[in-house]
């Protein structure tokens, strides 16, 4: 083995020496042979002649020795590479177009792969990630519910399937004290949370179960990011105290000192809540009666050897027992569970979009390859003579095929290198465009796996478009090709190119139809009435913090004064507060019970809005019956409520809802319905869940601490932000103002995922269209050029120019038609794949299909007419001589 390597390396790198030795050896042999013949009685001349005859071709011997030395392959490769590079340099136009096309295809594919890989392919960055499960309750209506604390506690005590179960909920806190108040996103987690994930703090320690009880110690674990940003990465942070203010949504803002007990590792990727920067024990208060409210996420780590199915069966057996034993009110004894891997759980929302996008980019890549193959083939025509000559001079076919393959691999490698640059840009664009739901955003980037993918794609491409023309060339007959333009070779050639045009049209059609459908979906989505007037609306979240305000009245006064201050500003038509803002991601829902079916305990889940007078007028929700909430509805007056139109219709079909009474939230207040207002989209434009109850802020059970300010402006909404901030801070400068956005921004964000998919699809479709147009043009221009002679003959025989143009266009359009037919079948299949992303349009939307076909037909006609017209403008005499 070693001697072999040594021998080959010496042969390769000391080529001069080795060749010299071979020369000397052969010469010596030659001379001895001559001497031998002379000794046997021949004259010197005769001996020389005889020996030369015996020896045969000296160069052939040397060549065979080189082969035997085993360096021949490397040597020829090097030669081919240099030759290939020279050929590419000699045709800078061809090289540039081919490399750019490939770079586009490889770059886009690699960039998309960089997102698909960590999200869908790589497992989560935890030990034994396949054992981490997301657990949901499945109510009888088949939807999915978050877990309840009661159920979690019951299951954690009884089950044998999981090493650990954990529950968690989001936690927003504000760091007060010195400096500007800053709000942090965090999680309240059961002590087992990090154990379930299998990650330990890098500094300090994990939570202990003794800390996870009501009124337990205030301890907190920081993310690496927060630790570096706010505490300068000081390792002495452990055991230090920080002051955090928490608003629990129950009107109790508590400001407490927390002990930092740990810092998570820098590579910890918290996929369940990526924006979380700190964690505290759940310390669940079951006395508040929410232990059976579905508002916790549950995850668990399976015991080794237990399957998800076994675990699900066990939980389905245990669930009803837990319920029977604990007898929770308003809860049946039926419960089922769904268990799926955490990876599937977090990627559920984006998987269809990502797969569709990946499919689209592969189409772009294939179109790019078709284009380059076409270019290579076109050049192959011009080089037919060159190859025929070389083959006549004794190069064997495998050498010629190797030469062509080397050239295409070289081209693919150049495309790949440029493609990696495109990919790096693409990854950045992807991160900037990505919708907030995209999990594992931090893991998206050009890394080893992505690089290897790009490399593999490039190599595959080089082989793919290198092999076709290479085999083509290897099969051809040098004698005929030397004579140029044999009719049979030309015909076969044209057939291959025609197939390329058909493929190109079909692929472009699939992409264009898919992105057309997405575009129409987005149009439909934005045409959905939101239920209010979104233009010229500025929104922001204002929080009331500080333990100075532990009475609701002070809190009401702060919001009332802030509102007054804002209303006085110029450029503002009106302003109001609401406890939750449509399309902002707020989700605040309560059960509502109507007085007339109080005994049946039939309830509805509705969005609860606590609003100040003027909210409806400001945001533009129309009144259908009765009256709005006004200044007369305050503490001490009879509590009033408004409900939305759809709920009123369903509940009081034909009857008057005004005057009916309802419970919402804790059951000690009856609200009288005084009005009905229009439906409003709360969660997203695509969801029709919009039942709502509106009450006055100061007639709710407690004062909300976080309110959204809605401001209708006369001019540009965003430009008023600084003035509004100042106005609010003139009332109290310590109150945080967050999430400033115009309603138009929120509207756009609510469709972010569809928009994300659409932007990418549009970019790909546009690329595909340009590539396909260039490809069709290239193929037709090439075939017209090959037929210049024929066209000359036709012209000379008196054919009209118009009829020749017609002939060429007709031939081109036939190919386009065939491509369209094949593409239609592909598009129908592709639209099936993106069905989940469509909204309000059929998968076979005729407008989209016809529009795309018309567009492609138009592009094809152009691509045919231009070269055809150029061809007929040629002087017949020139054309006849053209060869």
């Amino acid at each position: 083995m070693f001697s072999d390597l040594h021998f080959r390396l010496r042969a390769l790198f000391r080529r001069g020496a080795v060749e010299g030795e071979l020369d000397e050896e052969l010469r010596a042999h030659f001379e001895r042979q001559v001497e031998k013949h002379v000794q046997s009685g021949l004259t010197r001349e005769e001996a020389l002649r005889r020996t030369r005859l015996e020896f045969g071709g000296l160069d052939q011997i040397k060549e065979e020795c080189r082969d035997a030395r085993g360096v021949h392959f490397l040597e020829t490769l090097w030669k081919d590479l240099r030759y290939g590079a020279r050929m590419l340099r000699k045709n800078p136009g061809f090289t540039m177009v081919a490399v750019l096309t490939l770079a586009l295809g490889i770059g886009a594919t690699t960039a998309i792969f960089s997102a698909v890989n960590p999200i869908l392919l790589e497992s989560l960055p935890y030990p034994h990630p396949d054992r981490i499960m997301a657990i949901w309750e499945i109510p009888t209506n088949g939807s999915r519910n978050d877990a309840t604390f009661g159920m979690y506690r019951g299951l954690a005590e009884r089950n044998h399937s999981f090493d650990a179960l954990a529950v968690m909920e989001p936690w927003q806190t504000t760091k007060t004290g010195a400096g500007q108040p800053e709000r942090y996103e965090g999680q309240r987690v059961s002590a087992s949370y990090f154990r379930v994930l299998g990650v330990e703090p890098a500094i300090g320690r994990d939570f202990q179960s003794s800390e996870d009880r009501l009124h337990g110690p205030n301890v907190v674990i920081l993310s690496d990011r927060l630790w570096r940003r706010r505490f300068a990465g000081d390792r002495a942070i452990v055991e230090r105290q920080i002051t955090l203010e928490e608003f629990a949504g129950y009107g109790f803002a508590t400001s407490d000192s927390y002990t930092v007990i740990g810092v998570m590792p820098s590579d910890f990727d918290n996929v369940l809540y990526p924006s979380a920067e700190l964690w505290a024990p759940l310390q669940y208060d079951i006395s508040q009666g929410r232990a059976w409210g579905h508002h916790l996420r549950m995850v668990g780590r399976l015991r080794p050897g237990t399957s998800a199915d076994q675990a699900m069966q066990e939980l389905n057996l245990l669930g009803p027992d837990v319920l029977k034993e604990q007898h929770p009110d308003s809860y049946g004894s039926e419960v089922k569970f769904s268990i799926l891997s955490l990876q599937d759980d977090i990627t559920r929302g984006v998987k269809p979009a990502l797969l569709a996008i990946f499919g689209a980019v592969v189409l772009v890549l294939v179109i790019a390859c078709v284009n380059v193959t076409n270019l290579v083939l076109a050049r192959g025509v011009h080089r037919r003579g060159e190859f025929a000559l070389r083959s006549a001079l004794g190069a064997n076919r495998s050498r010629l095929v190797a030469q062509m393959l080397t050239e295409s691999l070289l081209l693919a490698a150049m495309g790949g290198v440029a493609g990696m640059a495109v990919a790096m840009l693409g990854v950045r664009a992807l991160a900037a465009l990505s919708p907030p739901e995209l999990p594992r955003l931090g893991a998206i980037g050009v890394n080893g796996a992505v690089f290897a993918f790009g490399l593999a794609v490039s190599a595959l491409i080089g082989l793919a478009f290198g092999l076709t023309p290479a085999i083509h060339a290897a099969r051809s007959d040098p004698h005929r090709d030397l004579q140029q333009g044999s009719p049979r070779a030309t015909r076969r050639h044209r057939r291959v190119r025609s197939a390329l045009v058909v493929a190109e049209v079909a692929l472009a059609l699939v992409l264009l139809v898919s992105s057309g459908l997405l575009l129409r979906s987005l149009q439909r989505l934005f045409a959905v009435p939101v239920g209010f007037n979104a233009s010229h609306l500025l929104t922001m979240q204002v929080e009331e913090v500080g333990h100075r305000y532990d009475e609701d009245s002070i809190r009401y006064r702060f919001f009332a004064q802030a509102l007054e201050a804002v209303r006085r500003l110029p450029g503002i038509t009106s302003a109001a507060f609401t406890s939750q803002l449509p399309l902002s991601g707020d989700y605040d829902a309560y059960g509502v019970t109507f007085e007339r079916d109080y005994n049946s305990r039939e309830g509805y889940e509705v969005f609860r809005y606590a609003v100040t007078p003027g909210y409806f007028e400001t945001i533009g929700i129309p009144l259908r019956q009765g009256r709005f909430i006004d200044q007369g509805d305050r503490v001490g007056t009879p509590p009033v409520a408004l409900i939305n139109e759809s709920l009123a219709k369903r509940k009081f079909a034909g009857q008057r809802p005004i005057g009916q009474r309802i419970h919402i939230g804790p059951p000690n207040i009856w609200y009288t319905i005084v009005g009905v207002v229009g439906d409003v989209k709360q969660m997203s434009l695509a969801l029709s869940q919009e039942d709502a109850v509106y009450i006055a802020t100061n007639q709710w059970h407690w004062a909300d601490t976080v309110m959204s300010l809605v401001i209708r402006t006369r001019g540009d909404a965003a430009s008023l932000t600084p003035a509004i901030r100042q106005a609010i801070w003139s009332v109290d400068k310590d109150e945080p103002i967050e999430r400033v956005a115009t309603m138009d921004d929120l509207l756009a964000a609510s469709a972010a995922q569809r928009r994300f998919a659409l932007i990418i699809f549009e970019a790909f479709a546009l690329t595909a269209l340009v590539l396909a147009a260039a490809g069709i043009y290239g193929v037709l221009a090439g075939s017209v050029a090959e037929r210049t002679h024929e066209i000359g003959v036709r012209l000379a025989l008196g054919a009209r120019r118009g009829s020749i143009v017609g002939l060429v266009v007709r031939q081109g359009m036939m190919l386009t038609g065939l491509g369209v037919a094949i593409g239609l079948a592909g598009a129908a299949a592709a639209s099936q794949a993106i069905a989940a992303m469509l909204f309000g349009v059929s998968q076979l939307d005729p407008v989209t299909y016809l529009g795309v076909i018309a567009l492609l037909a138009g592009v094809s006609v152009l691509a045919c007419v231009v070269p055809a017209r150029r061809a007929v403008r040629v002087d017949p005499m020139v054309a006849l001589r053209y060869e």
Partner: protein, 110 residues
């Protein structure tokens, strides 16, 4: 002129070269001469086959080459059998004997 040479079966040339070198280091011309002599002038090794074969054997590590002075004091490249070449020779000789014995038996009995 009738050609006394016969075509050698694949791999036989390697065996002959190894066998020749088992007697001691030789240069190329001497190898072909010796095979020619010993085979009663039946086997004539062409240079076009000899040198590629020598290079191939050298690559496989069965022989190694060094430059030295020939019997008439000329510079020549001598080839010598290596240890692994000797093992290879034994293996191939055994295989060859078996093959020829079997072929001979078939030819005689059938």
């Amino acid at each position: 002129m009738t050609d006394p040479r016969i075509d050698l079966p694949q791999g036989t040339l390697d065996l002959l070269i190894l066998r020749t070198l088992a007697l001691g280091p030789q240069h190329g011309w001497a190898i072909s001469e010796r095979i020619h002599q010993i085979s009663s002038k039946v086997l004539l090794i062409q240079q076009g086959s000899l040198y590629p074969a020598l290079h191939r054997l050298e690559r496989r590590g069965w022989i190694k080459a060094h430059w030295g002075a020939s019997e008439n004091n000329r510079r020549a490249k001598f080839y010598a059998l290596t240890a692994s070449g000797r093992r290879q020779l034994e293996a191939e000789e055994g295989a060859w004997r078996k093959l020829t014995a079997a072929v001979a038996q078939v030819l005689e009995t059938v």
